[in-house]
């Protein structure tokens, strides 16, 4: 009997350990989030309803929710442009990344790992440098303009830097790995035999792609588009370096309000509006994707 008791006590203790372990593992991440995400968000929220105080740079809490309306109506244009550019950049990245990820997953053979390294290679160079490099590529002496002019697709006077084109392609370029990697991960998981089975069941290549490959890669498409769209819509570096005054995004406005005009409440209100808008759009998108209506 005694022996029995000891064992059961041990079993109980083991179970107890198991139930607290997940929380212990969560703790560091949780602390990090609270300290560097929840607290700043909270103070940003507080800031967004403050009003200007006596001195420059001093703000007092006035619970002025009209800040949001003022901020939004002052930068509507940039707000919608952010979304438009974000969506365009995402679509371009998707169009480039899908075939790339497909080729890596199914056709690359022994080159698979090399290609994957190449996909993430740009990360070894800073975001800022890459964007400046993009400016060189699109610049007056660069290859892109040369080719386009040679093909008479653009007139000799037209330049493609400092334009919406440069900003959108810059965004697509910078976030391409975020699109490629999740797409690759979901394509790679597809059992090639299911594709063979589709062919065996009278589906040609296009039908197999439409009915099997694409639906099975939807988790990757959703993840990739979100990982591209969210940072792209909030980005301001591309618009700063590659854009013109007519291609400013909301990020640029927020930056200006924070650091140049020192109008913290408006900047905070804009930040929140952008965040909320992205959240709503993303929620809507995921729900649609979840019901497979996107296919």
């Amino acid at each position: 009997m005694v022996a029995f008791k000891t064992t059961s006590a041990k079993v109980f203790k083991l179970k107890d350990n198991k139930s607290t372990l997940p929380y212990l593992l969560l703790l560091p991440g949780l602390l990090w989030l609270v300290l560097f995400f929840i607290v700043p968000i909270f103070s940003l929220g507080q800031m967004s309803t403050k009003v200007a105080g006596a001195d420059t740079g001093e703000f007092v809490q006035g619970y002025r929710f009209a800040n949001y309306i003022d901020a939004f109506s002052a930068s509507k244009e940039q707000f919608f442009r952010s979304f438009l550019y974000g969506i365009l950049a995402t679509l371009i990245a998707l169009a480039i990344a899908y075939p790339l990820a497909y080729a890596i997953a199914f056709k690359s053979g022994k080159w698979k790992n090399v290609l994957l390294v190449l996909v993430v290679a740009p990360f070894f160079v800073s975001f800022l440098l890459r964007t400046i490099a993009w400016k060189q590529i699109l610049g007056e002496e660069g290859p892109v303009v040369g080719v386009l002019r040679g093909l008479h697709l653009i007139s000799p006077q037209t330049s493609i830097t400092s334009s919406a084109f440069a900003v959108v392609t810059g965004l697509a370029y910078n976030f391409l790995p975020f699109m490629t990697l999740p797409l690759y991960a979901s394509l790679e998981r597809i059992d090639p035999r299911t594709l063979e089975a589709a062919g065996d069941l009278y589906a040609n290549g296009i039908t197999t792609f439409r009915k099997i490959t694409l639906p099975l890669s939807m988790p990757g498409v959703v993840a990739g588009t979100l990982l591209t769209f969210i940072p792209a819509a909030g980005d301001y570096i591309n618009a700063t370096i590659l854009g013109s005054p007519t291609s400013k995004m909301l990020g640029n406005v927020i930056e200006a309000r924070f650091f140049k005009i020192v109008d913290y409440p408006t900047a905070a209100a804009l930040s929140f509006t952008l965040m909320a808008a992205i959240l709503i759009l993303v929620t809507f998108y995921i729900r649609r994707a979840g019901t497979e209506e996107l296919v």
Binding site: D191, T194, G199, D200, L201, Y202, A203, K211, L216, E292
Partner: protein, 376 residues
């Protein structure tokens, strides 16, 4: 795109001089074969013998290096897989994970432009045939292995192909379920009358289901025949050892006695029916299946072919039978299976015994064959 597999090519599956090389290696080597329409045919062999490659060439998933494939009069060698009157049950089923069971089964029908109403009728019918009508709305990952297996069969046969290819279809199931599915697959085949070509490395599976078995080894067919023919009259030591177990004892033909050959086995004369001798010269391997031996203590009455001076070296009792390893006077061991169907006492290790068997149960192979080829 609508391919009407139900009326296009019909008839026997004919493989003519089919070869598939991967670099220097011939996975399938000049294979010629006729599989009669409506039969249950098994390609049996160890892994790497070329059986799956053969199947994939018939399915259109591999391109033959040379040779041709016909279904009846139609040459399908160059045909795209999705145009062939052939459907496949894949090794791990390859069901479409994002589609319901209904849509999985309907997939082939929809590709052929069949109306919704007809699709529904056909799918319901096949689900009833495999006795799983309640699963139509589920997704594949909600099904057990055995259920997935049946759905994979249903997805293929619903298209009424001329030919159903099964690539190790029962490999992922446990033994009990495998037995059950063997009977079920055989029943389905009889029920719908489609030619089944079944690839397996499991000799029991092949023997249970197939009308005709082709034993493959190194890209070639070693022997083809009914399970009984292959088991009772193997033509090579590979077949003798791969299908069940065989005791192969080297001997010399010393004469002839009516319909029998007389063979000298280390000094003892035994009879072998001439009809079951596949050796061309005098040097032979005499084959006896372990269950054909009778084993008795020395001194008891015997008849037929008799080998004396043997000693039991190991005994294992396995319920329905007892397996003896017996050391022969010439130093080699043979296997003897004795049915546990009488009240005779089990022989003990070290007992001096006599082996005897009916001459009709003896076969002879070419003495140049390796006695251990194909043993597993």
């Amino acid at each position: 795109m609508a391919v009407d597999a139900s009326t296009s090519a019909r008839g026997d599956l004919i493989l003519k001089n089919l070869t598939k090389s991967f670099g220097e290696f011939n996975a399938v080597d000049d294979l010629s074969l006729v599989i009669p329409k409506g039969s249950f045919f098994a390609l049996l062999g160890p892994s790497g013998c070329g059986k799956t490659t053969t199947l994939r060439m018939v399915a259109g998933l591999e391109v033959p290096t040379s040779g041709s494939i016909f279904v009846g009069e139609t040459d399908i060698t160059e045909m795209k897989p999705y145009r062939r009157p052939v459907n496949t049950v894949f090794q791990n089923y390859a069901l479409f994970p994002h589609l319901t069971i209904f849509e999985n089964i309907a997939f082939g029908l929809r590709r052929r432009g069949i109306t919704d109403a007809e699709v529904k009728t056909a799918v319901d019918k096949v689900l009833t045939l495999i006795e799983l009508p309640e699963l139509a709305g589920r997704k594949p990952n909600q099904l057990s292995g055995g259920q997935q297996q049946r759905i994979a069969v249903a997805r293929a046969i619903v298209n009424r192909p001329a030919l159903l290819l099964l690539d190790e279809p029962l490999g992922a199931l446990d033994l009990k379920l495998r037995r059950q599915m063997q009977i079920e697959l055989k029943w389905i085949q009889t029920e719908i009358g489609i030619t089944f070509v079944h690839v397996t490395h499991d000799q029991e599976e092949a023997m249970t289901m197939a009308d005709t078995i082709a034993v493959m080894n190194k890209g070639k067919i070693e022997q083809m025949g009914t399970p009984e023919e292959l088991y009772d009259s193997p033509k090579t030591s590979f077949v003798a050892n791969f299908l069940g177990q065989s005791n192969l004892i080297p001997g010399k033909v010393s004469g002839s006695d009516g319909d029998n050959l007389v063979v000298d086995l280390f000094g003892t004369k035994v009879s072998v029916p001439k009809s079951r001798n596949s050796a061309t010269g005098d040097s032979v391997l005499v084959g006896v299946r372990p269950e054909k031996f009778r084993i008795a203590l020395e001194g008891k009455a015997t008849h037929g072919n008799v080998l004396t001076g043997a000693v039991v070296s190991d005994v294992s009792y396995i319920g329905v039978s007892t397996q003896y390893q017996v050391e022969m006077p010439w130093g080699k061991e043979v296997m003897v299976f004795e049915q546990n169907d009488d009240d005779e006492e089990m022989l003990r290790k070290g007992a001096k015994v006599v082996l005897s068997w009916e001459p009709i149960f003896t076969f002879a192979l070419d003495g140049k064959d390796s006695a251990t080829a194909g043993s597993n």
